[in-house]
Symmetry: C2
Subunit: 404 residues, 2 copies
Amino acid sequence: MFKINENFLKLPGSYLFSTIGKKVASFKENNPDKEVISLGIGDVTQPLAPAVIDAMHKAVDEMSKAETFHGYAPDLGYEFLRKAIVENDYRSRGVEIALDEIFISDGAKSDSGNIVDIFSCDNKIAVTDPVYPVYVDSNAMAGKTGDYLPDQERWSNVIYMPCTAENDFVPDLPEEAPDIIYICCPNNPTGTALKKDDLQKWVNYANENKAVIIYDAAYEAYISEEDVPHSIFECDGAKTCAIEMRSFSKNAGFTGTRLGFTVIPKELMCGETSVNSLWARRHGTKFNGAPYIIQRAGEAVYSDEGKAQTREQIAYYMNNAKEIRGALSDMGYDVYGGVNAPYIWLKTPDGMKSWDFFDLLLEKANVVGTPGSGFGPSGEGYFRLTAFGSSENTKKALERIKSL
Amino acid sequence: MFKINENFLKLPGSYLFSTIGKKVASFKENNPDKEVISLGIGDVTQPLAPAVIDAMHKAVDEMSKAETFHGYAPDLGYEFLRKAIVENDYRSRGVEIALDEIFISDGAKSDSGNIVDIFSCDNKIAVTDPVYPVYVDSNAMAGKTGDYLPDQERWSNVIYMPCTAENDFVPDLPEEAPDIIYICCPNNPTGTALKKDDLQKWVNYANENKAVIIYDAAYEAYISEEDVPHSIFECDGAKTCAIEMRSFSKNAGFTGTRLGFTVIPKELMCGETSVNSLWARRHGTKFNGAPYIIQRAGEAVYSDEGKAQTREQIAYYMNNAKEIRGALSDMGYDVYGGVNAPYIWLKTPDGMKSWDFFDLLLEKANVVGTPGSGFGPSGEGYFRLTAFGSSENTKKALERIKSL
């Protein structure tokens, strides 16, 4: 008799954004005349850059002729894309990454969920709190998080590292040493970022404790301050303790185009075993590459035109972030993030619960945001707005919030 | 201190096709003047159909304008694609599948590897032998297969169901009841297919033993015989015991374009739990959809032009299959498959070992095939050739084999 993975049954409720999606759909159905503006899910709204569009048309044409047709991609991804990454994302910042330390994938969400496969079940994970739900949920599915304690809204076997206004959103080194540490920087959901000195402390701590850091740098392109590192490998010693994940979703608007990559330095060892070789095996066995057309699209992001065009998109979104920060501050809200990231993290007024504020905003202002508590217990009393809307919608949403 | 998943270390050697790739690369390096023809890995060679190309150009253009841009896809995949699947793959054959029983993915390899996530570690799996390596390897990575016994070339906790010329490649019902049964039909690697009566026996057996069948129908489009089912759901009672996986790789040449889907009927229950709901959770948490452009490409496969054009491609490959079958039979080889599938499975001459025949073919004929033993112990003494080459190369390869 077949048996399911019972760990799935421990998961509380549904995936955060599915719940929000259902609430919004139900509101729209009951209020067909209301125009709802979403500053909720971190989805982009600007079209793909012209350089990317051109590259895809060209690649589609290649797929139409036998001489230039592409079947299965190389296991790690096409070299043209990995070379562009080595050059533009790493060498340009003084970091040397080898071609076979890069694994092209269909996005950072898949990678950050699938990476649990290569680690043992008895690792203890540490996550910042609040946190992107995929890190904890994917570990919970693999039975690595103990039991869910509904009254505390946390898992019994996870180390939560609160990041709140009280500690300036810089997590303290935990008392109990974790085995695997998830850090998302610039941070989703708080929109804040660690300075290089702060990150270096974590790298040192991981090396001292033989822990591994899973570093999600999906929002790296939004960094505007000098002393915030773009890659964890800018820190000394990171190659012996860190895995870095990157995405094209936010720097080039690929949320519906799907491309990302994971970097695992060969120096990252567990005893005699190279972690790189384990991921290579997982990648080769349970994945079959990102589409050729999409890998060409990714390559175009690194062309001169691509870089200029995507920089403009990011500036557009960051202008929204500035507008949101400014307007909410003027209204008296406590506002964080939005300087090195496209997320604005605000304190709900009068200590309101996050989901109550979600309902208020949806019903009275017809604006969708994301309740902070959906990202973990320390997110309670906070709320996330994204800068990914159109400029017009962002302004309209702010006016509606003002008149609440 | 972090610990790796030790199950990875139990895996013997590397993924079959990586090994072949390395052998071929080394041969080419040492023999730069030799022209190597690959009838090895099951990769297609014909370009994408014009209807698919047109649909992709159109979708790329949509991504270039804010009004028609597409960000994150719906969790299950776009409805336009799921509707086309319901209509063309199922309703047309008298099978009713609901839209939310279909999960669009980036391919059957990912799905067949990732599906292990939703099952408990103490399920015992049964596989036909020989078998597509991903089923066993993905279970081995999850610690579900016991220990690898190198002398027997099998895992201690897997039920192997030999499929050889002796039983006409129809597996016998196993003595010990398995919990999860993998069936690939039409079969990779043997190229043979189960008749409906044979498959119905398996469905009955699974229902009686409360086992689940993971049915890989990636080669469904190659079926030419009337009494071979295209879907397991054509069998009575399959909805309470089967999961079906499909791919666009072989019916429409999407090996480098990446698209597939999994069907999990809501009637498939484990106690009170719907297996569909578990996969929905896994899919929503650890995957972020196939690209919009690729889902539009998939939709075009079901258009009238798309259907006519992909039928032509399949006829082209199946003509190769016929040529290979005929020529090898004339040379005195024992040949199987190639009627309902693009694979020809042959007995090596004089009881030669599969890898020895691989080396012989590579070195003397400069033709790459796949050693049967790479697919499991009962594949020893067999060899797989694919019909996916060009017509010219296929003929050339056959002439070279003839002159061995």
